[in-house]
């Protein structure tokens, strides 16, 4: 068990590394040589064995260390996990979904035994064993959403559906690409997406909302989002921007391969049964340029995507400043050869 998981840090000395296996299964988000926003949702059905799509919730070698980092973020700032009072039932729906999925998909790591509402959960990697009564919050150390998301990689938001709209009213957000749960909680779909440039003009969010309002039980969907991060820092929150913002200015030719990370979010969306809410897990994967270029197709493609991306999008994603350095590094690996369609390595 110990060998299944890395012991690494996402802050301070930043010992985070991807093994060769992790690199090979990295969710490279670009199926072609250029990038533009789209709704780009597809059914979240079991995918290629070994890939990040194989299971409902992917557990990888970074699991234990990521959960440790989450606990540190929450100790420093409890406002990163909030649930408006009426969202408790949605929290239970999510707890059930994650426990059932993980016990089914990774039985050597997770076990769930249920006797009516008396549940018994074992999480071996985190050495957690919990007996509790489903739907009774007083039998858990904290609310159900917080309880289970402290044991699950990725951020989560829960959205209440009412008035022909979706409302972001609960969330665990410690690995976000620069948005504040505390500020956005309570907002409607278009409101919390308001800061994204260009996409509104493309009506991307109108179509996405219409699709999601009719999202049904048993029909989850997934899509990708991506950005860039300096150092393998999961907690790139606006709250801490004064701390991590300056690191962008310390990048050099010599350090970019090691410190510049492509940050990919695998986002899924599912309808929850009892609350009729929608859960939006945002699972973050990080890979440094040095690791990424070991896959020749990805090296060529990433160079082309960064080269051709509109400045407005690069600015919104926070890497406009270092775009020249990135291109200087990546161009070394782009011989102009054609790349195969799709994102899998050749």
């Amino acid at each position: 068990m110990v060998l299944d998981f890395n012991d690494e840090t996402f802050r301070g000395d930043f010992t985070y590394r991807n093994s060769a296996k992790a690199i090979a299964r990295f969710p490279f988000p670009f199926p072609e040589d250029s990038y533009m926003y789209s709704v780009n949702m597809e059914p979240h059905v079991p995918g290629r064995p070994g890939s990040v799509f194989e299971h409902m919730f992917d557990v990888d070698e970074h699991y234990v260390s990521e959960m440790r980092d989450r606990a540190m973020v929450l100790a420093d700032d409890p406002l990163r996990c909030q649930s408006l009072p009426h969202m408790a039932l949605a929290g239970w729906d999510l707890l059930e979904l994650i426990m059932v999925s993980k016990a089914r998909d990774y039985p050597h790591w997770f076990t769930l035994t249920r006797d009516g509402n008396r549940w018994h959960w074992i999480n071996r990697p985190l050495q957690i064993e919990q007996k509790f009564t489903f739907l009774d919050e007083t039998t858990l150390p904290c609310g159900p959403m917080e309880y289970i998301t402290r044991q699950t990689q990725g951020d989560f938001t829960l959205q209440d559906q009412r008035d022909d709209n979706l409302w972001l009213e609960a969330g665990m957000v410690t690995t976000q690409a620069d948005w504040s749960l505390d500020f956005d909680i309570g907002m409607s779909f278009h409101e919390w997406h308001a800061p994204v440039p260009l996409a509104h003009e493309l009506r991307v969010f109108d179509r996405a909302l219409k699709f999601l309002l009719n999202l049904q039980l048993g029909a989850p969907v997934r899509r990708f989002n991506w950005t860039m991060t300096v150092d393998p820092l999961l907690d790139t929150s606006p709250e801490n921007y004064p701390t991590w913002g300056p690191t962008k200015t310390t990048m050099t030719e010599g350090t970019i391969g090691q410190r510049q990370h492509l940050r990919v979010e695998l986002q899924t969306l599912q309808r929850l049964p009892r609350s009729n809410a929608i859960v939006f897990p945002i699972r973050c994967y990080l890979i440094r340029f040095e690791e990424l270029v070991s896959v020749p197709k990805w090296a060529r493609r990433l160079h082309r995507v960064v080269r051709d991306i509109p400045d407005e999008i690069a600015a919104y994603k926070g890497f406009l400043r270092n775009k020249p350095l990135m291109l200087a590094y990546l161009s070394q690996f782009d011989d102009g050869a054609s790349t195969s369609p799709g994102f899998w390595p050749d």
Partner: protein, 321 residues
């Protein structure tokens, strides 16, 4: 359905005559697995093969949402309808194998409500049965006002009083008992949400009274399943599939599209949710828009149609399906 939502093969476990006009059907999964829990107000689409005619009718789930041993619906027999309820009443018995869709909720309770005021007319009681069970379990505040033409048509009235006591108020038309809406609404605490499910006239009355008394639109909710009306047969060209289909008098356009083997999305099959909205590529005639979804402008332009409930009369109609 939207792509991917699973259908559920079921067996009818029980058929109970509740009143002379109402029967309750209980479905259990054929594979023996538990049902998914659902949210009160959800419905399932029940597929019926009525002697060669495929019907797919939506019915509200009335069982307790956390009872995963099976789903229950109650069906009021309507002999003047297209035959779906008649078929269920006369041909479905314990042991019959059927297929239902996954629960879809277009009539949920509002999670932020301080109190839920439920107004039911006749068979409109069904979604509230599920909602009250869930609210009770969650400790929510609610009150039911249930009106029926006569006690024969007041299904579950005694059960409700037994279960929920003073929160249940019953009214029988044949005893001249009427809901005193004008006095009921003003006294409700701020944050109450109002839900009405019943005949069209009752829904209009409740909505307009609430509006006149200052209730915001977002605090008033209603559900009304429009049954696809019967009408003269007509022909439609499905441009994308390259088929021309005939729509029978007691068959909806959506059912005719499905019978031709063409997949079309749907959710409520009652003209309310928008999922089946279809582009009209050409129209020489008059579309009878029977839905609650399209805007008046869209209806007038005849460029869109809701095939679940709307019909056509004229020389030609070409759809993007």
């Amino acid at each position: 359905m939207s792509v991917g939502a699973p259908k559920i093969p079921v067996t009818v476990a029980e058929v109970v005559t509740v009143t002379p006009m109402v029967k309750r059907f209980r479905f259990v999964r054929r594979d023996g697995a538990p049902m998914l829990p659902f949210s009160g107000g959800a419905h399932v689409v029940v597929e019926m093969d009525d002697h060669g005619t495929r019907r797919m009718n939506p019915y509200s789930l009335m069982s307790a949402p956390d009872d995963t041993s099976g789903y229950e619906i109650s069906v009021r027999r309507d002999d003047a309808g297209r035959g779906g309820s008649f078929y269920l009443h006369t041909h479905v018995t314990p042991g019959t194998e059927m297929v239902i869709g996954s629960p879809v909720n277009l009539f949920p309770t509002n999670a932020r409500a301080r109190k839920h005021l439920l107004i039911a007319g006749g068979i409109g009681i069904t979604p509230f049965l599920a909602q009250m069970a869930a609210l009770q379990a969650q400790g929510g505040r609610f009150e039911l006002h249930y009106s029926a033409r006569s006690s024969d048509l007041a299904a579950y009235a005694d059960d409700l009083t037994a279960r929920y006591g003073d929160r249940v108020h019953r009214y029988l038309d044949d005893q001249k008992q009427q809901i005193d809406l004008a006095n009921l609404l003003p006294g409700q605490p701020l944050g109450t949400h109002l839900y009405v499910c019943g005949p069209k006239g009752m829904i209009s009355w409740v909505r307009s009274t609430a509006h006149a008394l200052g209730w915001p639109e977002t605090a008033v909710h209603s559900e009304e399943f429009l049954a696809p009306p019967i009408g003269a047969p007509f022909t439609v060209e499905l441009a994308t599939s390259g088929k021309t289909i005939a729509v029978g008098p007691a068959q909806s356009l959506l059912e005719a599209i499905e019978a031709a083997g063409v997949v079309a999305p749907y959710l409520c099959r009652g003209g309310a949710c928008g999922e089946c909205e279809t582009s009209v590529l050409a129209c020489d005639g008059q579309i009878a828009h029977n839905d609650h979804w399209l805007t008046d402008d869209q209806k007038a332009s005849q460029t869109r149609i809701m095939p679940c409930v709307s019909r056509f009369a004229g020389a030609s109609l070409v759809l993007d399906r």
